[in-house]
Chain length 262, copies 4
């Protein structure tokens, strides 16, 4: 279980979302409220878009709450689209390449969830990564593998690629023991558009909220303040689609596939 | 607020105390029960005596709960006298030299507590360190400074040195604002004898317990299991004295000074 | 290119080999003499056998030359069989799981070398790891993958398993571009027996030396002192076999296979 | 011995100076040419001015050459005035607070040099830090202490403050053994103006060069390329003064004091 936030909107200093709010991501790193693991101290990461088409990354294995570099960067970095993530590891080592977000060309991804029985599915999921993207597999998390699988499933149509990948993973999970589960609460962006997914197989999905104003949208694992009226709770098996220049909308996952099949 | 354990007795693998118990120090690193800060994720340290007169140290800035090196070392290191400490920093940076325990010649020290208003007292405490020991001042914590002050106050008579140092610190604290406080729950050893202090000025002292058997004594911030009957609670302003080859005894602090003054 | 030493013999403190010699492994970490990369500052590791059948590991991403924990451990750890390794990374990230040595059940392995064109061969080499050992694949180096492949090739007969694995890798390399190369200078142990390999495909093999006395054998990437008369240079495509209770002997690689084929 | 660069000029991405040049600071971290220690792998740091009056800092204990965060930051951070530093430690621990640059309010400082016999002078230099600035003493280096002493010596007049501090330090050094030495090659900035000092007592001063164009000035420990004609070598006991909106000029240290004394 991890905690994350994603922002897209007017250019802003990261600190307004990552370090300053009452229940900021940093305070969630040491005391999350809506998570099974209240401590998210197994590393963290920032990813942000600037003038360069590829995002910048700052990832570190130490807990976010005590990282002085993180505070300086959140004060000094400005971005119109950024991710921040604090990690509670579910089995894979605590290394920088295993910290979220992950980047591949102009795409960026982060995840909160898990694949139960990862040892059984590990090889199958690795095989979903196309050869051309396999050199980008620098860490060992299930999250990075799923991201690269999704990249290889036709990332130019992100919703279709996500549904194709999630559908395959769902099949993998359901071929295992009855109790096998999969939770996927993830954010995906390309520098312009932002997508956030809330999905689960044989389990409850991890929480997902967003808040939107004229100035932008912020999507979070749990609200940044105690006033829950500010926040829209994303239903399970839905995706938030925040295209550049448009208001965000919530779309049920697999709806289009089902509609097309009728 | 930190958590620690100290052991003296038969040679044993560290894992039996540090990683294996139901409520081991490692589990206290992520979820302590009797502390203001339940997370002690700001680094950790081991110190142990072996064949060399000076203790070995292993200190690291990452949280103890995820450090694979720590698990290997606790399995493979055996000692008749060792310390283990998980840190919740109270202001000084998270660096290896600021992790406990501290070593100086054949002595070793670790601490759980704080000096409120450290900025006011910092210089005074530094001045308590004798010139000859000042090169051993490699970190910046109040704890290390107090240890070196105590070393310089006549360490050959550890109780007298501790009382002298604590008395001076008490004066320093009481010269400040009425609310200034000092908590000192610490362990001190020389490879043979083990001392543990529970003391506070203008405040409650941090908890201290011990359990003794034929095989040895283990002194802890909080019990390693839920059966509190196993554990003796050390009263405030007392010291546990566990001399080599003797049963431990609890001595009130400053009692001897007062007796001598009568 | 990395530097390493392996020891098997009388119980000894690691410091006599790792930190104390004139040209110790620590001094090789900052200034190696017989290597293309004179700086080996991309992490390091210790692995040692004690009372537990599985080896202990201490691995760290910081350079060996400045790690105070390493000095304490080398002074306090004693072993009859240990490995020490300083890394110069050849492409995979600098993480603890990517530092040598690697352990799997009672076996331990470390490596100095590389597979050129790793991106092409990566998937093939991963497939050599049997499913049962795939959960032990915690890092991303070619070295760990080769170790687990070797473990899966019948580790009860280590020479045959190594020859089988090296033969397969040689085929993989030769199926690529004419310039593709492979260097493999590695140590392997099970707590009793020690093996050291010097092998290369389409290239010179990295250097390997050893020194043996009544007290034990030490095998190294480059001599620990300037008196080269003390050291036996292992020829290319040979393996040093140091079985428990026997003098070491050098055996040509693939010789037995060739002999058996006649 | 360390290596550093300081830049003031048009807004630029840090990568053009820190990572891209033929003999960039990153390449100097693993192979410096004009230094006693060719490896500068004991941590590094960036400091830069942006919209906030106080500079941002990114400091890390790992070597610069392998830090992927550093590459991302150098690509994405833009600044009109920044410092970058790679460290070769001279005795104090390798911790983030001991990495350069150091910041205090709107001032920033970095240093290449040493005080020989630091153990003798340590206490005296600490005493030069005024009480009001002592809470900013978060590390243990001689460099940070000298910076805070200089801050306390009247930083509104930086040249006079530097000369006053260097004069005091020179007296300290000369009161010691005949062989005691002091080397000070340092950069100081306030977000607008940039100063760089080359000074030594009883020793040669560490090298210092600069290159100036319409676009800005870059001051370095050693040239970023092999064309030394591009670079002005700063004589010993001189300071480069690069005031905002003016061409840089070189001023002899203590000249003004001597002139005033005549």
């Amino acid at each position: 279980m991890c905690r994350w936030i994603a922002y897209r909107g007017e250019m802003t200093a990261l600190e307004h979302y990552v370090t300053e709010p009452e229940h900021s991501l940093i305070s969630q790193s040491i005391h999350a409220l809506e998570s099974m693991s209240s401590t998210n101290g197994d590393g963290f990461g920032l990813g942000w878009y600037g003038q360069h088409p590829e995002p910048g990354l700052y990832r570190e294995v130490r807990p976010a709450w005590s990282d002085e570099n993180l505070r300086y960067l959140c004060r000094h970095l400005q971005s119109h689209l950024f991710f921040a993530h604090v990690r509670a590891a579910t089995g894979t080592p605590i290394t920088r390449p295993n910290c979220h977000p992950f980047a591949c060309s102009n795409w960026m991804f982060m995840h909160n969830g898990f694949v139960s029985n990862w040892n059984r599915l590990h090889r199958q999921v690795e095989m979903l990564i196309p050869d051309a993207l396999y050199p980008s597999r620098v860490g060992t998390t299930d999250s990075e593998a799923i991201f690269l699988a999704l990249m290889g499933a036709g990332i130019d149509h992100p919703l279709a690629a996500a549904e194709r990948t999630l559908s395959t993973l769902t099949d993998f999970v359901n071929q295992g023991k009855p109790g096998d589960r999969f939770r996927f609460t993830a954010a995906l962006a390309n520098g312009r558009d932002l997508y956030a997914f809330r999905y689960a197989v044989n389990d409850h999905a991890n929480t997902l909220y967003y808040r939107e104003s004229e100035r932008g949208i912020v999507i979070v694992s749990e609200p940044l303040d105690r006033d829950h009226n500010n926040w829209v709770c994303v239903p399970e098996n839905h995706v938030v689609v925040a295209l550049c220049g448009e208001r965000a909308r919530m779309v049920p996952l697999f709806h289009r596939l089902e509609a097309a099949a009728e």
